[in-house]
């Protein structure tokens, strides 16, 4: 566990931790570090306490540490709040004069942020740039890298602003060089060449995946932590001819994407648990009318409003069973930024192929966490269309929207492309899409929508990722955002062999794979950000296998490496 550091910037909401954080991510990635960063913020716009936590290393990173080596406090309250979460030998960087803190502490490293910022820039808004310089200086990044990132961060602003920020960063850098004599934090990047080209978070990846997948209609109602998916798509909407429409509520959002999809356009929405609850009826409508849609459920702690800006994985069972009636659905739960991208594209393809609602489950942790990655492989992320092409439409006569077939999938025509008309119906219907009261037709339609499509979907499940599972002392199982933590735990623990299995698709459930993977397992634990052990229950229901325990965390905060290692030790 050498050659890595955790840096935390903390202060009130509105002090710009996110900007510093993003700049630091870029700087470290550019100078050859691997990074993992996440945000912890309150449900308010100003005040309170937020922080941005950044881990850097010469090896790929997938999760957080519990304690930070360098903590930069941007306000006085942060000092007391974060002192206890400092690593041994850690340093707390603060502006003693400004905070009127008189007591001494061996961990304190005093920097007159306020004075430097106002001297150079004439305003305390330059404190953030000073802080960037300070951190660069402490770690030993070259000055030009800091300057470079200042240029990138303020690109588009006036020359003067750029200059002042660069100067502020340099002043912070110089201050450290002159006053901070420790070498403790001077780590060298191991493999500078290979830290990838992108820095993205989970929501970015989903937005980019959707654009790549040909999503042309996006409608949603803002709700943390899903909102930035809408922002990113909106940012590129003009360029790619995408309509982003903020709906009056979540019910409108899901019904709008169904309406757009009915016309042949790939459509998506995103929300969190509470908004998703309002979409449950619409989900059932998509299934009944066999209209493909993609719905992202970015989880946060609930019930009700809960912790609006925090993380949880407590909606697994709700998402699996949401909507009245029985119908096939696919539910993905990407574990990495890369998976978030590819799975989003797959979600659109599968939704269109099976004419079903497809769900992507994430949570605040993966949505807001950044990692450096290789750029996406566009050969892997390809669109597969499953509609009657415009060409073929010309010859389509006597069209039956819900024709019975072996696969349960009826060919999907696009309104106005074919010469015939199309009936889509939320009532139980005939093959032609007209309301029926017939018992036999009804049960055949249930078989079509439920059994047959399910059986097709079961043929193309994303296989679970298994790592170090053979002859492991403990096998961890998780879904969604816990990939990273399980991976690092598995690598970090050496006195025992810890393997893990990660499911990036939870429905259809990869039952036979799980049975095969777990058949010789000594001890199995699920790792879940919920209180019920929902994945453990699902595993039991689908395979009969009962886990040896579940490591659960339901306080709204993600797992971190140290914490989980500790918990696993306690589990024995």
């Amino acid at each position: 566990m050498t050659n890595e550091l955790t840096i935390k910037i903390t202060g009130e909401a509105g002090q710009g931790m996110q900007t510093v954080g993003a700049a630091l991510c870029q700087m470290f990635k550019n100078t050859g570090f691997h990074i993992f960063a996440n945000q912890d913020y309150m449900s308010r716009i100003r005040g309170g306490n937020n922080f941005f936590q950044l881990r850097i290393s010469d090896k790929p990173l997938h999760t957080l540490r519990q304690k930070s080596d360098i903590t930069v406090a941007l306000d006085k309250a942060s000092v007391a709040l974060h002192k206890s979460s400092m690593a041994d030998g850690g340093v707390l960087v603060l502006d003693r004069k400004k905070f009127t803190i008189t007591e001494e502490d061996r961990t304190f490293f005093d920097i007159p942020f306020y004075d430097i910022a106002t001297r150079i820039g004439g305003s305390e808004i330059f404190i953030n740039s000073v802080a960037c310089g300070v951190i660069a200086g402490m770690i030993g990044v070259e000055l030009r890298s800091v300057e470079h990132v200042m240029e990138a961060t303020f690109a588009g602003k006036s020359e003067e602003i750029i200059r002042k920020n660069k100067e502020a960063a340099r002043a912070g850098y110089d201050f450290v060089r002159n006053n901070f004599k420790q070498d403790t934090f001077r780590i060298k990047a191991g493999a500078i060449k290979d830290t990838g080209t992108l820095v993205v978070n989970g929501n970015d990846a989903i937005a980019l995946g959707a654009i790549r997948a040909g999503c042309k209609f996006y409608s949603a109602y803002p709700m943390s932590p899903s909102t930035t998916i809408m922002n990113v798509i909106a940012q590129y909407a003009q360029k790619f001819h995408i309509i982003v429409e903020q709906a009056e509520d979540e019910i409108a959002a899901i019904n709008m994407i169904i309406g757009a999809s009915f016309t042949g356009v790939r459509s998506m929405t995103a929300t969190s648990g509470g908004g998703f609850a309002l979409m449950a009826e619409g989900l059932s409508l998509a299934a009944m009318t066999e209209t493909p849609i993609v719905v992202v459920v970015a989880q946060r702690p609930a019930p009700a409003t809960g912790f609006p800006t925090r993380t949880a994985q407590a909606d697994l069972e709700f998402v699996l069973h949401a909507g009245h009636g029985e119908f096939a659905r696919a539910v993905y739960a990407p574990g990495t930024i890369e998976e978030a991208f590819y799975v989003t594209i797959k979600a659109f393809n599968i939704a269109e192929k099976y004419q079903i609602p497809v769900l992507i489950m994430t949570d605040q942790h993966i949505a807001d966490s950044y990692r450096n990655i290789e750029t996406f492989d566009l050969n892997k992320g390809k669109v597969q269309r499953h509609i009657i092409s415009k060409e073929d439409s010309k010859n389509t006569k006597n069209y039956k929207r819900y024709q019975f077939t072996e696969s349960g999938i009826s060919s999907r025509a696009i309104p106005s492309w074919i010469e015939d008309v199309i009936y889509a119906d939320s009532d139980e219907h005939t093959e032609e899409g007209h309301i029926t009261e017939d018992a036999d037709v009804g049960s055949k339609m249930v078989e079509k929508r439920f059994y047959k499509k399910f059986s097709g979907l079961s043929q193309e499940i994303e296989k679970p990722t298994a790592y170090n599972v053979e002859r492991a002392d403990i096998v961890l199982i998780g879904f969604g955002s816990t990939y990273g933590i399980m991976k690092e735990v598995s690598d970090a623990v050496t006195d025992k062999k810890i393997g893990f299995i990660h499911l990036s698709q939870v429905w259809p459930f990869p039952a036979s794979e799980m049975i095969a993977l777990l058949k010789d397992a000594k001890k199995v634990l699920t790792v879940e950000n919920n209180a019920a052990g929902q994945l453990a229950r699902l595993l039991r229901r689908e395979t009969g296998l009962q886990v040896g325990g579940a490591v659960l965390k339901y306080d709204g905060r993600p797992f971190n490496l140290d914490y989980l290692i500790d918990r696993i030790k306690k589990e024995g």
Binding site: V199, A260, V265, S416, V421, Y423
Partner: protein, 285 residues
């Protein structure tokens, strides 16, 4: 186009004598006149007796959820603005369960035409009060008579800035068909509230009751439907006299125009096989 082009083979499940038949005939008549092939027309509905209408016309049909016709219709229009989109919905469907979509889709102003079969009752669920049921009317649920004030859909639509606000009567098919044509012609959101006797559950607002009261507002050449204040007064009128016709009309830019959709091919025509995102990926380095 002639009537048989729009003929559906589906059996009609309405009660004999229901006011819905008049509306159905008016819709068909209008579509024949419109001259567009069925494949370029989309009827969207929710759930209720009214909402069954699309099954009885041969056109594209999306028969969705109770209360949720409007978001489906608006989005379909946005996604493919070459479709003529009509909504057939009930007073419960549109003003009750679907109220929020009504108020916001008036604001959204996509070019769709909404026909509300307003029988002042919940028909399909057997006779509970709807938002437009007259005060005092007794039902199995409103045993002491309705106590909520009725919703004034036309007045509300004017207040929300709707560009086309009209009322028809299901017995006057000619006039209703004219209203629907005008609604379709109107660029933007059109609301047509249609007085529709429910012979099974509304024992007050019967054919007779309506027939005695309705008068055609546009017959009076002094009535100017572009005068908003006059329109407010007309829209409020309810009692011994009930105005039918175009109550309010004004030109406004549509959603499709404002977002530049009208000027380009429908979204469904976009090539999506290999969307090139490399240029934007570089912004994430």
């Amino acid at each position: 186009m002639d009537a048989k082009d729009f003929k559906s083979s589906d059996e009609i499940a309405w009660c004999p004598g229901c006011g819905n038949f008049g509306i159905l005939n008016a819709v068909k008549k209008t579509l024949v006149k419109l001259g567009k092939p069925p494949k370029d027309i989309l009827l969207v509905s929710g759930i209720g007796q009214a909402a069954k209408l699309p099954h009885y016309v041969k056109c594209n049909c999306f028969n969705g959820l109770h209360g949720r016709a409007l978001p489906v219709a608006a989005a379909a229009k946005i996604a493919n603005h070459t479709l003529t989109v009509l909504v057939t919905t009930g007073d419960g469907d549109c003003y009750g369960e679907g109220g929020n979509h009504l108020i916001h889709n008036i604001r959204r102003n996509t070019d769709i035409t909404v026909i509300v079969h307003d029988n002042q009752i919940y028909g399909l669920t057997k006779g509970q009060a709807s938002p437009t049921t007259d005060p005092g009317y007794v039902t199995k649920v409103q045993m002491e008579g309705v106590v909520l004030d009725p919703l004034h859909p036309l007045e509300m639509a004017i207040a929300l800035g709707a560009g086309f606000v009209a009322r028809g009567y299901s017995l006057d098919i000619e006039h209703l068909s004219w209203l629907i044509s005008e609604g379709i012609k109107h660029k933007g959101f059109s609301l047509i509230d249609v007085l529709q006797p429910c012979v099974s559950f509304n024992k007050k607002n019967t054919y007779e009751w309506y027939t005695q009261r309705v008068y055609k507002v546009n017959d009076d050449s002094s009535y100017n439907p572009e005068d908003k204040m006059a329109a407010y007064e007309k829209a409020h009128e309810w009692g011994d006299k009930i105005p039918i016709g175009i109550i309010y009309r004004t030109e406004k830019e549509t959603y499709e125009e404002k977002r530049g959709l009208s000027q380009r091919a429908p979204l469904v025509e976009e090539q999506i096989e290999d969307v090139d995102i490399t240029s934007i990926l570089s912004e994430f380095t």
